[in-house]
Symmetry: none
Subunit: 261 residues, 2 copies
Amino acid sequence: MLECTIEQASTLKKILDAVKELVADANFDCSDAGLSLQAMDNSHVALVALLLRSTAFSPFRCDQNLSLGINLSSFSKILKCANNDDTVTLKADSGVDTINLAFESKNGARQSEYDLKLMDIDSEHLGIPDTPYEATVKMSSAEFQRICRDLRILNESIVIDVTKEGVKFSSSGDLGNGSIFIKSGQSSIDEKDEDTATTITLQSPVSLTFSLKYLCDFAKATPLSNTVTLSLSNDVPLLVEYAVNEVGYIRYYLAPKIGED
Amino acid sequence: MLECTIEQASTLKKILDAVKELVADANFDCSDAGLSLQAMDNSHVALVALLLRSTAFSPFRCDQNLSLGINLSSFSKILKCANNDDTVTLKADSGVDTINLAFESKNGARQSEYDLKLMDIDSEHLGIPDTPYEATVKMSSAEFQRICRDLRILNESIVIDVTKEGVKFSSSGDLGNGSIFIKSGQSSIDEKDEDTATTITLQSPVSLTFSLKYLCDFAKATPLSNTVTLSLSNDVPLLVEYAVNEVGYIRYYLAPKIGED
DNA sequence: TGGGCTTCCA
DNA sequence: TGGAAGCCCA
């Protein structure tokens, strides 16, 4: 059986907000390492990989590996019934076709409980090669979200150019052209905040084109972390990672567009 | 004639917000006791009873009883034209087919005035027996509203179970099941706030089913009071009461659903 | 910064 | 009609 408790319901809420738009149904794989999820998005273009480490929970108990097929929209709706700082306990058993969610207010005066029906989902577990990337950009997640939203008024595609000086995001369309250049080494959001300083690690410059629709969907993970890490190589899917402090991460993969400007 | 002044326009605004969704047109009965309204909702399922005591106004003058037929949506629209802390004066006369609303800012610099057309409304004044109830729950109104909203994701019906330990709200549907238990004796919202501590008075435990649509409409009265009182007996309409400090109350009655789980 | 409300879109 | 996004208020 699985039984695990996390202190802040808000963490789970934000995680579901960051996934449910891309993926309708997915299997949560439960093991002693924690809870993980890996799924192609609904149009089979992007891939989402989520990890919630067992250490994010206390207690965490998972006797045998379980794969829980969950409708993420329903899961999210039920989580919205918790207050942000409620404690959440998830319980599931191998024999049963529901997962139990128990929310408890910090003072214990309010206890709520939901059973969510599980479903059978074909899981196509794709091995993701852990390749080195030619360029890595760590930057403010809020800035990245803003850039993706802004450039979307111009075109559905965005070009990301990484040099050692900085990273340039650009787009062009009927309205005109636009580009945003973020200098390496300092924060674009708050100059005093070293957490969100832009850091670039580079083997060789890259210039790649991606669909803004997907990047905007990935950016829904912004509330989970102050920073985002973009990892790029030519002809390899972009990796967009939001590390969630003490909890785990959510990673998105998206293949570049080719043969376009 | 009727002529009465209330200090805070916001009080009247909130009252109209709490009624206008349920009742389109209603008679305001004016007497030296104050203003009252009693009406079935548009689908003749629920009943609303409102009282604004004469002491809520100063001055309050009502020479003879008047019954003023008012379209509540129009009344609400006009009230929205007042600033929240404007003083509101209502004037009506038996010979005239309008009610006059005068708004005045606290410093007197702004005075506005509206005439609202009255209408003839058949009033079916139902006697409401003042019966004792088997169970009474006083709880945070915000909590009650939240519970009704939350459980609505599961089903249109809610089951309310009252025991001396606390009150349980539950629902079930396609997604799964859910229940919220509120412990008697402490506040589920703010542990330091004794005003909103849950208080249960019980002759015998009750378990009744109601339509969530109506309860959610009743909960629009939440801004009027920090607490709500639910009074239940088997086979008797639920009474949901919001006492408005120093002003009066708004009461809603709703028959339980029978023959359903 | 978070929550609620309103408006727009599917 | 329900869900999502953006705006406004606390």
